[in-house]
Symmetry: C2
Subunit: 202 residues, 2 copies
DNA sequence: ACCTGAACACCGTTCAAGT
DNA sequence: ACCTGAACACCGTTCAAGT
């Protein structure tokens, strides 16, 4: 008779995937190296053979999630390309409401994050805007995306003040598609206005 | 001879102030109930008489910091009022680079946060915009502020990838005043454009 | 009313060892 | 090469007790 748990061998991939799954379903405080190991049917220290420490594990999870974000389409006019990326990002933030708050709180960047950033900058450069404007606009977009990530996860979150006994609040209500579209158009209008101001473009 | 440490009696205020100071100087991971108690020259459990738990302590710290943010001036035209609040918020975020990442990662709101939110909404209402636009614009502003809080604390933070041995990165480089002003003008231009679109206002 | 101290159920990680 | 297990130095918090 075969073993009930096939124990398909540990690997970096399997660990990171399990960490992501656990994070999504149980929340951040449930993600400990020990519980994760237990779930994988393995000694806590086994994880450390594949990843140096918990911080590295978290960053691997972040990068896995960000890999789902498509890069802006260089064939599209910049407004359309930005709108598409904005919507995709919102979709992702809604899909991973436990991951993004951790991601934006982290002081470390991930490779994928840098890649997306670069792609946005290239998009604006190709649209013909001045290089220093592109850098600043990209920064503004990035800044806004951070905010979307949190708002998507927690909503406006003005009401539920903390009460010691109470269970942690559910991840919602998320930003609606309408609200995000409103925000995106607001940003695009702002970018257009600022860029027209420094050069006759649009 | 008087005691060397006067031990000026424990109080909620003293605890919260010490927590904020510790957070700023030593970073988040150095803020444990035990270390805080040691610094206050007191048994760890003494803190629990004044505050229910660590989460409540953190929220008290957040509210203390946010109390420094002045409300928008109702006498000013909305663009000027928003610009002033934006700059103040950036100044605050720069001044508390260890606090804001925790604040924006938290799922709980604080009373002061709700108060600021309400004041922004009132400002836009008084400016004569439609109520539902005001709500959405306020949400966009809030969303952007969250991003500013993180960018101010960590910068764009695309480069320093995590290395296991290395010490945690310093809190900077912060967003510069120029970059923030660029962002603020971008947002104001966007708000103006969106609002003009739904009604003939400016 | 305000503070203490032992105890409990956890953490992440080091280090030497096993296969 | 890959995994284990004991051990260390921590956590936040409960609970009964002291003043």
């Amino acid at each position: 008779m075969a073993a009930r748990k096939p124990k398909p061998r540990l690997s970096r991939e399997r660990i990171v995937a399990a960490a992501l799954a656990r994070l999504e379903t149980e929340g951040a405080e449930a993600l400990s190296m020990r519980k994760l190991a237990a779930e994988l049917g393995v000694d806590p220290m086994s994880i450390y053979y594949h990843l140096p420490d918990k911080q590295a594990l978290l960053l691997a999870v972040f990068d896995l999630v960000l890999a789902e974000l498509p890069l802006p389409d260089p064939a599209l006019p910049w407004r359309d390309a930005l709108r598409a990326v904005g919507r995709q990002f919102h979709r992702l933030a809604i899909a991973h409401p436990r991951v993004f708050p951790l991601l934006i709180a982290s002081p470390y960047g991930t490779p994928r994050e840098a890649q997306v950033h670069q792609a946005l900058r290239d998009l604006l450069l190709r649209a013909g805007f001045r290089a220093e404007d592109c850098a600043r606009v990209t920064q503004a977009i990035y800044t806004y995306a951070v905010g979307v990530a949190r708002t998507a996860a927690h909503g406006l979150r003005l009401k539920p003040f903390y009460e010691p006994g109470a269970p942690p609040p559910p991840p919602g209500p998320p930003m609606t598609a309408d609200e995000v579209d409103f925000s995106i158009e607001l940003m695009i209008a702002g970018i257009g206005a600022v860029l027209e101001r420094t050069q006759g473009k649009g």
